[in-house]
């Protein structure tokens, strides 16, 4: 029940924010913030319940004709990701606070609806419902990019939408096939996660179905070769949009892989794992290289996101405890670090109205706090021990090493590339001689007090993850153990 409340709070809050604009243009952000805080409070109540099994479960008839039910529940993993969503939601509103002034009502409406969709995705246990939320996330995001984006927003928004939509339809086909197989095997239609887990599929058919899911999730993650929507979307989206996109939306892809793609088709995934891990390694290295070549700071960060999510996919398809925990930790840590970097880059663009790094340089003298913040998060991104990303990537690689040594070694080079591009950004933007030849630096001011609060909170989060990750690992442990045992039993049955 809590979850239903949570989602509806977000939906309603969005509508209220939109309406409140008519009263006063400054209301929407307040409404949105309060809504967000309320929902965070609701989320925190989830922590109270034990993380070992499904909590806050709600299962209501929805479309009996197809055995579709409105089935929400959260386990440790979902709870973690929901909390991340809530946290970044607040951050995103903070990022938009000054930046979005025209039509703010509709903006916050979209922001909150996206988040509602995301929460739905993280908690839906009926595949139809899941797909439903999966799509609901997109449209507000499309609006955010298309309305408040930058010079090339139409292209970016369109690309984002079509990529996710088309692959989404492939997933829909797979879902329907699965439900149909359930119908054949058990005599009644059902889209419920737990029912579909019992469907025994094998051979090429299950491989195709798995690929349907994989296409959707790999696009959202994103992984090679489906990544090319991300740089455009990120470079064009407003700051808050990038924050949500990088921090939360990408994670839905990884979540989908962990929750659906692999458990529903263990054998097919086992066969497919080498390919997937290769793709992951390719994304890590290739996108790191492309990132290094970028001059648009947001594009650069976007490519680094792809590179880092590669570690997540590597971990997922290595499919052992360390690897999965690593994947989850990377999701969380990258959620913070990438979001923070986009926020800072957005702040920079808001100040000097350019994203072209070739025009920048030597900002440290002008904006020491911002520079330090960027330094901190770049360092986090390149996997500095003591910060969250290290824990995630180290565990992921540690697990992957047990699955495939050569791929892991290759992936490890990503650590080197990461340092190359991260330090390059620092050098390009903040070190060197101060140059403002090509832009007006009259508004180039250091982080405001509010920005500092957000940045500091994210720093704190990363340090926490880095120094005492246990508090997060414990939450996801039960889930991961369950998944491992389930898939093991099935695959072993298959072998015998």
């Amino acid at each position: 029940m809590i979850l239903a409340v949570l989602i509806s709070v977000l939906f309603v809050g969005g509508v209220l924010a939109w309406l409140s604009e008519n009263l006063d243009p400054s209301f929407p952000k307040v409404v949105a913030l309060t809504t967000m805080l309320i929902s965070v409070a609701i989320m925190l109540t989830l922590l109270g319940e034990s993380d070992s099994e499904w909590v806050a479960s709600l299962n209501a008839q929805w479309i009996p004709r197809f055995g579709i039910s409105f089935h929400l529940a959260a386990d440790g993993l979902s709870t973690l990701l929901i909390l991340l969503t809530g946290f970044l939601g607040v951050i995103a509103i903070g990022a938009a606070w000054d930046e979005i002034n025209d039509r703010s009502g509709f903006f916050y409406f979209n922001l909150l609806w996206t988040l509602a969709g995301v929460v739905g995705v993280f908690t839906a246990l009926d595949l139809f419902l899941f797909f439903f939320f999966w799509e609901v996330m997109l449209i507000p995001m499309y609006f955010m990019i298309a309305i408040w984006g930058h010079e090339n927003k139409n292209y970016a928004a369109m690309k984002f939408f079509i990529f996710t939509q088309v692959t989404g339809m492939l997933m829909l086909i797979s879902i329907l096939m699965l439900a149909y197989f359930h119908y054949i095997q058990f005599g009644w239609l059902s889209f419920d996660y737990f029912d579909l887990l019992n469907v025994s599929t094998s051979g090429t058919v299950s491989m195709w179905m798995m690929l349907g899911f994989f296409a959707a999730f790999a696009t959202k993650l994103p992984s090679m070769p489906f990544h090319s929507w991300l740089p455009d979307a990120h470079s064009q989206a407003p700051t808050a949009g990038s924050v949500i996109l990088a921090g939360v939306l990408l994670k839905t892809g990884a979540y989908g892989l962990i929750r659906f793609a692999v458990p529903l088709f263990p054998e097919a995934s086992m066969q497919f794992a080498p390919v997937a891990m290769t793709l992951a390694v390719l994304s890590i290295l290739y996108c790191a290289k492309v990132a290094f070549a970028q001059t648009d700071i947001k594009r650069l960060i976007a490519y680094t996101s792809v590179s880092h999510m590669g570690f997540v996919m590597l971990g997922i398809y290595a499919w052992n405890e360390q690897a999965l925990q690593g994947a989850v930790m990377t999701m969380l840590a990258h959620g913070l670090s990438a979001a923070a970097l986009f926020m800072l880059a957005g702040g920079l663009q808001h100040r000097i109205h350019t994203r072209d790094m070739t025009h920048m340089g030597g900002f440290w003298a002008k904006v020491p706090r911002m520079s330090f913040a960027v330094l901190f998060f770049s360092i986090a991104a390149l996997g500095m021990p003591g910060l969250g990303n290290f824990v995630g990537e180290f565990l992921a690689l540690l697990g992957a090493f047990q699955a495939s040594i050569p791929l892991t070694v290759a992936a490890a080079f990503g650590l080197i590339f990461a340092s190359v591009y991260s330090l390059w950004v620092i050098q390009k933007v903040f070190h060197g001689e101060y140059r403002n030849s090509d832009f007006d630096d009259s508004h180039l001011s250091d982080l405001s007090r509010r920005e500092m609060v957000y940045v500091a909170s994210m720093m704190f989060g990363l340090v926490w993850m880095g120094m005492y990750p246990q508090s997060f690992l414990d939450m996801s442990e039960a889930t991961i153990q369950g998944l491992l045992t389930a898939t093991e039993s099935i695959t072993s049955m298959a072998q015998n």
Binding site: Q61, W62, I63, P64, R65, F66, R103, F131, F132, E135, V136, L138, I139, Y142, F143, A146, I147, N154, A157, M158, F161, I162, Q165, V166, M169, L170, L172, I173, L176, M177, Y180
Partner: protein, 486 residues
């Protein structure tokens, strides 16, 4: 043939509609009054649909070999009449300022509805042809209606002539096909097409196939399926908006019901070749429709092309005919299609009038910021056409996918995915236009008092769009029971 009152009773909707037409005609004859005629027609249509709705649960009766009045036909009687009612309501402001006699338009509308009613309840070639022609005849008139007026917005004449000649040809094919069938089987009932009698004194199977395909071709033309689609955009663009709306919704829906009955009753799908041809037509329509709409700037033409694609989607369900849910899929999707097409055209016609139609997407720049409610509804309609969740269009597409999966039509499903992928592009083009900042110098006809009702229609449509999109369960069970009779 008609003997008892029991046989007349099921025909009540038809009779009411006809009566409406007669009464309207008489009133016009007595005294021209735009409002009055409109009122009569609208009331008559509402009455018809109401009666049909009431009768629906009990009635399942074959009246003469020509007409079958069962839940399914009554369901579509309701749909067509309500759609027609909406069209009538929308027509009112549109023709309000027409510098010509305006009343006869409603007569033709009513007659067209009668044709539609006959079509949806026909399971015999003669009745099908009768209904079809009644519909088309009056459509020629509706399309050409404002052609007297000096500053009529479009090219009604050109549209009408094109439509007349081409659909004449199509009718020719249908009729000739029928004659061949008749020669083959000696009967004009759908049911006897592939019956033993046919096989017994056969002139050869190919013969039947040829005949079948000729009929199919004719129907495909009326449904503007590729490769018989070329007329669609011109007729849509040329005719006055309400006529386009009627043609695009009622016309298509009635025709498709005929196709469905024809295919299911006559088991035409027993012939491999027919299935193949259908599949090719479906793929061709999906691709052609979406590709043609891709860079189109005229909303009427965009909707025309997209309708081609949508008919292609529906055809997938027809081909999946053996499946358990394909009939439901078709029914649901048809309903969805009617709702969203009506909605889209309704919004276009609210900002338009017979003097000036705002049908270029440029005209919609920034609409979202000057008339949020209207453009929000438009966005809803477009997203529904694109098959995005929260809307009825998504559920419809879900049905189609389901039936496709059930019968394992992977090739067609891939075509469907590709088509929808392309489709997103041009729907979003319109959406993006509306989201752009307001451009000055764009003058909309400020919808006057007479369009209040039009806004009402739009609101109802949006409501239905969302209701059937979010909580489709009741409608589904209704459709399940309704389409079980076929």
């Amino acid at each position: 043939m008609i003997t008892s009152f029991d046989d007349l009773l099921p025909l009540l909707p038809l009779l009411i509609a006809t009566a409406t037409a007669v009464i309207a005609m008489v009133t016009v004859g007595i005294r021209r009054n735009y409002l009055l005629t409109a009122a009569i027609v609208i009331i008559g249509l509402i009455l018809t649909s109401f009666v049909a709705a009431v009768m629906m649960p009990y009635t399942n009766q074959q009246i003469t070999p020509l007409l079958i009045v069962d839940q399914y036909s009554l369901f579509f009687v309701v749909v067509c009449c309500i759609a027609a009612t909406f069209v009538a309501i929308l027509s009112f402001p549109y023709f309000f300022s027409l510098d010509d006699e305006r009343e006869e338009y409603y007569l033709m509308l009513t007659v067209a509805v009668i044709g539609a009613i006959v079509m949806v309840s026909s399971n015999h070639f003669i009745s099908a042809l009768l209904g079809l022609e009644t519909l088309s005849m009056s459509l020629y008139g509706m399309v050409a209606y404002p052609l007297h007026s000096k500053e009529s917005a479009k090219y009604p004449l050109e549209a009408s002539v094109k439509y007349l000649v081409l659909s004449g040809v199509a009718t020719g094919f249908i009729v000739f096909g029928m004659s061949l069938i008749y020669a083959q089987t000696g009967s004009l009932a759908f049911s006897d097409l592939t019956s033993d009698a046919a096989q017994m004194n056969s002139l050869g199977e190919n013969y039947t196939v040829v005949a079948l395909l000729m009929i199919v071709a004719g129907m495909a033309f009326k449904l503007s399926l590729a490769p018989f689609h070329v007329w669609t955009p011109d007729v849509y663009e040329g005719s006055p908006l309400p006529a386009t709306t009627f043609l695009a919704t009622v016309g298509k829906a009635a025709m498709f019901v005929v196709l469905l009955r024809f295919v299911t009753i006559s088991n035409a799908l027993e012939f491999e070749s027919v299935v193949t041809v259908f599949s090719l037509i479906a793929v061709a329509s999906i691709l052609a429709g979406n590709l043609l709409a891709l860079l189109q700037d005229n909303i009427k033409r965009i909707l025309a092309y997209s309708s081609i694609a949508h008919m292609g989607y529906l055809l997938i369900a027809i081909i999946a005919g053996q499946g358990t849910i394909s009939n439901e899929a078709i029914t649901y999707y048809l309903l969805a299609y009617v709702i969203m097409t009506l909605g889209a055209f309704a919004i276009t016609s609210v900002v338009s009038s017979s003097e000036k139609e705002f049908d270029s997407i440029m005209d919609y720049t920034g609409l979202f910021w000057r008339n949020p409610w209207l453009s929000a509804s438009f966005i809803a309609m477009l997203l529904s056409l694109a098959g995005i969740p929260l809307t009825v269009g998504f559920i419809g597409k879900f049905y189609i996918f389901m039936s496709g999966v059930e019968s394992g039509l992977w090739g067609l499903l891939i075509a469907l995915v590709i088509g929808s992928g392309i489709g997103l592009y041009y729907y979003l083009r319109i959406v993006y236009r509306m989201l752009l900042p307001v451009e000055e110098g764009l003058k909309y006809r400020i919808a006057g008092i007479e369009s209040i009702t039009a806004y009402g229609v739009i609101s109802i449509l949006v409501f239905l769009l969302l209701l059937f999109g979010i909580y489709p369960a009741p409608l589904m069970s209704l459709i399940e029971s309704v389409s079980s009779v076929i």
